[in-house]
């Protein structure tokens, strides 16, 4: 397998954050992200309050720190380059702008990583459907997540077969072999898609994906969502009046 594709492994942990319904977590995360992004430049210190709240959520989620840091590492090159540029420019305004941009990027990423780490992808898709995200987008994402492991295995098998046939010399021959492999991989995927479509229709697909009715969200969980909304609202108001 090319990809480490057990994307839901950490979503099976047990913690207060994991137990929150995805239909509550999704809007909470959207509100938090919006609130973080509208923090004005003059109120950069408010980002620390959000950072503290997110740190508390991360600790409560019991996600491994190494996993969290690994996921955050994708922002490292951008942060390093920006920091070097901000230090080289002797201007307080440029530094404030950079602190705001970097802080917001980092906090938004933490929100997204916490959501992804504590929620199974199927629950996230169901929540997106419940919040009326277009069904085409959720259905496409569902298909992609379901078949990623299968296609990854197929690609790995083709690479192994290519390597075992011996070393390909010369750039032209390498390109030719690589292109042939890609064409075969894509046409096999299209063939598989046709088979899936026939199976869908024969199992009752009538223009929209069928879904089971979901249980209602407990009132206590909506209270948590209300608290998040209040916090975000209060901090946004404080930022606007600062």
């Amino acid at each position: 397998m090319i990809l480490p594709l057990d994307i839901d492994s950490l979503a099976r942990l047990d913690s207060p954050v994991h137990r929150l319904d995805a239909r509550v977590k999704l809007p909470c995360c959207v509100v938090l992200i919006a609130a973080i992004l509208v923090v004005p430049l003059a109120a950069n210190r408010l980002l620390l309050v959000y950072a503290a709240a997110l740190l508390a959520a991360a600790l409560a989620s019991r996600l491994p720190a190494t996993w969290l840091l690994k996921r955050m590492a994708i922002l490292a090159p951008f942060l390093v380059l920006g920091t070097v540029a901000a230090v080289l420019i002797p201007s307080a305004e440029a530094l404030a702008v950079w602190l705001s941009v970097a802080g917001k990027c980092l906090l938004v990423l933490v929100v997204a990583v916490l959501l992804a780490g504590t929620t199974a992808s199927a629950d996230l898709l169901r929540a997106a459907r419940a919040w009326h995200i277009p069904r085409t987008l959720t259905a496409l994402t569902g298909f992609a997540l379901t078949y990623m492991a299968v296609l990854s295995d197929e690609a790995a098998r083709m690479i192994t077969a290519m390597r075992s046939r011996g070393r390909v010399r010369g750039l032209r021959r390498k390109l030719h072999t690589g292109a042939a492999m890609l064409v075969a991989l894509m046409s096999r995927a299209a063939e598989r898609a046709d088979r899936i479509a026939m199976a869908m229709v024969s199992r009752g697909y009538r223009g929209q994906m069928l879904a089971l009715t979901q249980r209602p969200v407990p009132a206590a969980q909506w209270a948590i969502a209300g608290a998040v909304l209040l916090l975000a609202g209060a901090l946004t108001w404080a930022g606007m009046t600062a």
Binding site: I2, L75, W98, T136, F143, A155, A193, G207
Partner: protein
Amino acid sequence: MMPVYTAENRGPTVAEEVSRARELSLGGLFIALGVVIPIAFHALGGGKLGSAFLPMYLPVLACAMLVSPPIAAAVGLLTPMLSSALTGMPPVLPVLPMMAVELVVMATIASVLHRRLKLHSLLAVVLALLSGRVVMGVVAWLLVAALPAGLQESLPPIMRTPVAYVGAATVTAIPGLILQIVAVPAVVAIVERRRHGPTERE
């Protein structure tokens, strides 16, 4: 709730349902390929192969030729987003927004040209790639223009002039552009020949 069909509103035929289901499954599988193929490229030749061969563009363009424009646009939007979320490639800033807009426009144009206007797949790929480069320049210019003046001056000159930026990115990606022009029409021809029989489009 399931729709109710009457004598006037007969609802979709089985062929239409199969076609819709096929578009969805094809879109989903090619989004998955858009995550898997770049990883395979990185596994084979390191990170530099990504910017030279544009491996994510391959499944998006090939899929766009085989599905309707709305599904093609959705595939163009979801592929870089899902790849970024699962693998960290492309990075969230500044590459992801540029790539998402570029792929949405490219996929929509490719689908409209090939599926609606019945243009040959080779010509549709070339025009879609050209439009993608133009969109990349516009988005790069918008991103730079959104920065404060102080930070704009600190950027390297190549980032401040969209034409130079797009030129440099295009020169780096020449092998990838050639690969798209060769591989995408080949995939489209294979799939269409299998679906419609050998004589329909020839």
